[in-house]
Assembly symmetry: C2
Homo-oligomer: 314 residues x 2
């Protein structure tokens, strides 16, 4: 897929991992597998399917091994997993993921409370993981969370984000995903952040991961695209939430990102109605309607600009 | 309020008119008045409170006279009303609105179906209305609807929008509000549209009125701001809907626009918690939770970037 300027743009679908991680209801394994299989057939090329953290910490993803083992592996789709440490990587490797991801918070306090380690300890843990993953030939993503605001520390210094992103790259990850974990960023902060990070990390190695808690996520995505970012994390139907603002919304919605990209001539390769149907597969289980605006449009009246009408009838 | 560049930005709150017009439930008059009175005390400076169309057409606003007569008139707040014709203006003038607005669709078919007149007939009707409104010393806004897409005609030519905007100005309106009525526009279309319209109408006379049907509205708002537009129409809690996509969302949410603007140093003067509380006054009547993401954040954990924490506790 290409932007108007010609640079290819990738979408990384994170609903099965980041979305479900922040949902209260546990999706049964068979439903989850059927759902991921449906997502695999929408044109999406990168899907993060689970996380190998301790199941007592994230019970929603306790079925990580089974999911990775039993989902369909569609050609040209990369199935990634999150791992917290070497033990998680070893569990994952048994079932041959296509990519792995590590995570750390820019906020020291958030890292301590969320991961139970200091930033230094976290980086130290990554070294053997990265070594083993590289030996296995796996692409490695480094997630940075709380890149704009932290519920404990408040506003985060973009310079610190840039330093940590560079450090992650020097350790050996292939891309860094910058996460506005509590969704407080606006275009102004995103621009300032990317100005700083792109001085230390090539913009082609930067992904953005925006939460939509304050409704800013899609505007932030556009800002990132304008800055040359071409990897966008999103969650079908906007699944997920925010543990720090109960009831709040989750990640930016994949369908809204697809719509935005198609509108600027970026051919995503994603079939929007198929994506929406896939998103709907878990809606009943999660016990609430989707937060995404686009998902509320009746399928029979969906249309796609400019000039392409998917299935528009009057 | 000023953008980072210093240009003042106005928000026009349209929930009591455009929002309610597209909601199924009828809000009782006394609740509506209390709600508008609350909105008047949030720092908003322009509120569109009702419409003097025929009550059989828009029963939600059948109480137009009473509302305009009985709401509090807070100093420095301008209370505007929509009028379809001379008769509507005369009804409105009895109760001294601060501003009036006329409306027309760029799509001939939409104008016929929605208003029951051709574009030429509509413009002809405006002449005496504008004359009388000017004589009464009232600022006049001209709404253009279906500026990007039409459910009947499909994609709309931005050149036609520019011509009609210019014609409206030549007839004597003081500003034109460009409405993406079915919410299909993305930043790419908004940019192209504003490039054209701003060649015919000074950008300071252009307002944008984005519906959030496809989740693009706030990204579109940012694009408009980047193009120099400084009048943004919005609806508290994202109230409203889309008659062409039942169940779909409404206007861009005022609170999310405020948040976006504050994030870029634009001092809106709006008290965000007060705005959210005002929005909540009609929630129960409308029988559904707000579509706005920001409105889902528990009030006690709302924060405002950058660095200003309204009421943030951990």
């Amino acid at each position: 897929m290409n932007t108007g300027s010609g640079a290819p743009v990738s979408i990384v679908e994170v609903a099965p991992r980041d979305g479900l991680q922040n949902e209260h209801h546990i999706v049964p394994t068979d439903v989850k597998i059927a759902w991921i299989n449906a997502l695999s057939r929408t044109g999406l090329r990168r899907i993060e399917v689970t996380s190998f953290v301790r199941s007592d910490r994230v019970p929603q993803l306790a079925d990580a091994e089974i999911v990775l083992a039993e989902i369909d592996r569609i050609p040209n789709v990369a199935y990634g997993v999150l791992v917290p440490n070497l033990q998680g990587l070893e569990r994952a490797l048994v079932h041959r993921p296509d990519a792995i991801a590590l995570f750390i918070a820019v906020s020291e306090t958030f890292n301590q409370r969320n991961i139970g380690a200091s930033i230094e300890e976290s980086f130290a843990r990554f070294t053997p993981v990265i070594a083993d993953a590289r030996q296995a030939g796996l692409p490695i993503r480094g997630y940075l969370s709380t890149v704009i605001g932290c519920p404990y520390e408040g506003v985060i210094d973009p310079g610190k984000v840039a330093e940590m992103a560079e450090r992650f790259m020097m350790l050996g990850v292939d891309e860094v995903s910058l996460g506005d974990t509590i969704g407080v960023g606006t275009p102004a902060q995103v621009k300032r952040l990317l100005d700083q990070v792109s001085q230390r990390v090539p913009v082609t190695r930067i992904a953005v991961h925006f939460h939509d808690t304050y409704g800013q996520a899609l505007a932030n995505v556009q800002t990132a695209l304008d800055q040359g970012v071409c990897i966008i994390d999103s969650s079908v139907h906007g699944l997920g939430g925010c543990p720090f603002a109960p009831g709040a919304s989750g990640n930016v919605a994949t369908e809204e990102v697809v719509y935005l990209l198609e509108g600027q001539g970026c051919r995503t390769g994603v079939d929007l109605p198929a994506l929406l149907r896939a998103g709907g597969l878990v809606g009943r289980i999660l016990g609430r309607p989707p937060v995404s605006r686009l998902a509320r449009v009746p399928l029979e009246s969906i249309w796609l600009n400019p000039g392409k009408i998917w299935n528009h009838r009057r």
